[in-house]
Symmetry: C2
Subunit: 333 residues, 2 copies
């Protein structure tokens, strides 16, 4: 018996904003299971901003996607058939196999997830890579102290929304910026931040002047560009900037000038530190321990924005760059 699966391939490398023509939905026939192999049917696919970087053919911390091959990335699926090995039919597993409905695997790179501990899509968000990113970036790079001001850009996204709440748990004053009034309302009412502003209607310098009356001690940056420049201007002496990403620049067709006030890092003695979550597997244990406890105590809230069907993987991904997501963007299939 053979199964077919649809998967999304990268067809061409985008210049500027990706469009649907850069992708192709391909139907393949899955091979029969060899001994030790499993058949996994994905339930949730992850779309993440960092994937934009992998669409460019250059050396970086992860190899670029290859043309004509699957858009790999996080996914959660069910083992529907097992031919021996550690996984049984009915197990839920996480993989980096990406945008495909189903796949055959020898089990390498799969890890079990427990749907009783957290809802399945949470393993792609608050309990997964974005959650660990928030935890490591804020705590290890930002080093926030109780009473300090933490400013989070992209504050209603998968990472930012968790950063805001961990910072509150650590006793900080927290301000966030996001791209809609609905998002800032969520930040104030659900995430419990102290201040939030909509960067589409309030210029960031003005938003920061109002939201961070005592300056900024820790800036967790998901956005870059003008947001970084505005934050540099408002940083306090000895401030720390955790540079997580710069989504405002990912689709730029030419290099954008950096912040004109970068020289402030000297008189203000700032530290600007870039990081990549995959370097910090050693923090996974602490992260799971703390996050499970916070979730169980109802102290961390999260949202998912769910698109349906693998044919919506590309629109979901593209939606990240126009801010269509509140919390984690996932595709359910």
């Amino acid at each position: 018996m053979s199964y077919s699966s649809r998967e999304v391939h990268l067809l061409s490398r985008p210049v500027g904003e990706p469009t649907p023509v850069n992708f192709e939905l391909v139907t393949i026939t899955l091979p029969a299971l060899q001994p030790g192999q499993v058949l996994v049917r994905n339930r949730y696919l992850s779309v993440d901003p960092y994937m934009r970087g992998r669409m460019v053919d250059r050396k970086s911390y992860v190899p670029p996607f290859r043309l004509g091959e699957v858009m790999t990335g996080g996914a959660v699926g069910e083992v529907v058939e097992s031919n021996g090995g550690p996984f049984q039919a009915g197990d839920w597993v996480q993989s980096m196999h990406g945008w495909r409905e189903a796949f055959v695997s020898d089990g390498r790179g799969l890890s079990k997830v427990d749907p009783a501990l957290a809802p399945l899509p949470a393993y792609l968000g608050v309990m997964g890579m974005p959650g660990l990113t928030a935890y490591v970036g804020l705590l290890d790079m930002g080093k926030p102290q109780a009473g300090e001001t933490v400013y989070v850009s992209g504050a209603a996204g998968a990472v930012g929304s968790i950063v805001c709440q961990i910072a509150k748990l650590k006793g900080c004053y927290v301000a966030g910026s996001a791209g809609s009034d609905a998002k800032t309302a969520w930040l104030m009412q659900t995430a419990g931040v102290d201040a939030a502003f909509n960067y589409r209607t309030t210029p960031v310098p003005a938003g920061l002047a109002r939201s961070c009356p005592n300056g900024i001690d820790v800036f967790f940056d998901n956005v870059g560009g003008g947001t970084l420049e505005a934050a540099l201007g408002r940083m306090n002496d000895f401030g720390r900037i955790a540079a997580c990403g710069s989504i405002s620049l990912y689709n730029a067709t030419r290099p954008e000038p950096g912040p004109r006030n970068l020289g402030l890092i000297v008189p203000k003695r700032l530290t600007l530190q870039g990081f990549i979550v995959s370097d910090h597997d050693d923090r996974m244990h602490d992260f799971y321990r703390d996050m499970s406890r916070w979730i169980a105590a109802g102290r961390i809230k999260w949202e998912e924005t769910v698109y349906s069907g693998i044919d919506n993987a590309v629109p979901a991904f593209l939606g990240l760059f126009s801010g269509k997501n509140l919390g984690k963007m996932v595709v359910e299939i």
Copy 2:
């Protein structure tokens, strides 16, 4: 009996490059000594790039110079008269009293220096603030490991020339850039760096490609601007940038765009850290211990560029911005 002294006042705040019209040489009559006071006649005045920042009226880590008052800064002089207190006639003392021939002091802010341990102007350079800047910035911010590549901009200056040699003592491969062939020759032949280039005749990206074949692990930046951009492009993963200053930008009349490739700090996991030497008095003891030992062993060389007469304090200061100095620029009076 009364003495007169000439001193340099800031007359107006420069826009762009300072010129002699921004300063005034004023003759004053020194007051008679009160009990506990001393009369100090300065022998060496320090001129330093950071003083440019103090000429601007803005809040920063040191208060701005005030119009109509002395350009304060490092100086070494001799106690020529003492009316009691801890200092005796014949003592050599260091102060922050700046660009004046002589002054009366109650002793606060004075500290003795030993001309037998190091030549007097060295207390304004290798054994003084610039030396400590090099030591702290390289070791504490840059954290170089033996075998790593250290790149130093402004490598033939008061700070850079010492950074290069400490990095060599720590077993690093060292490359430096400077503004003349005479300076690069000094770096190669006297400071013992592994590679040097003249940024006025070799574009920095090309100079770095040739001088740092294995990339850059630690960048000690005195220059900023395009030099920082070029270095970012050549940094290795997990590289550290000690941001000491950005002399290329100090006379800018409008904010210059920052490096277009600043986003590289995320995929390369770079740390960019600004620092100010006066925050690191706790390292003074280690610095004196190590530097005295290195100097005694002949393992650190240094140069001074000496202008003569207090009427040459302004030309000496202005000369910093066109690279007239090899090593520490001082004024002897």
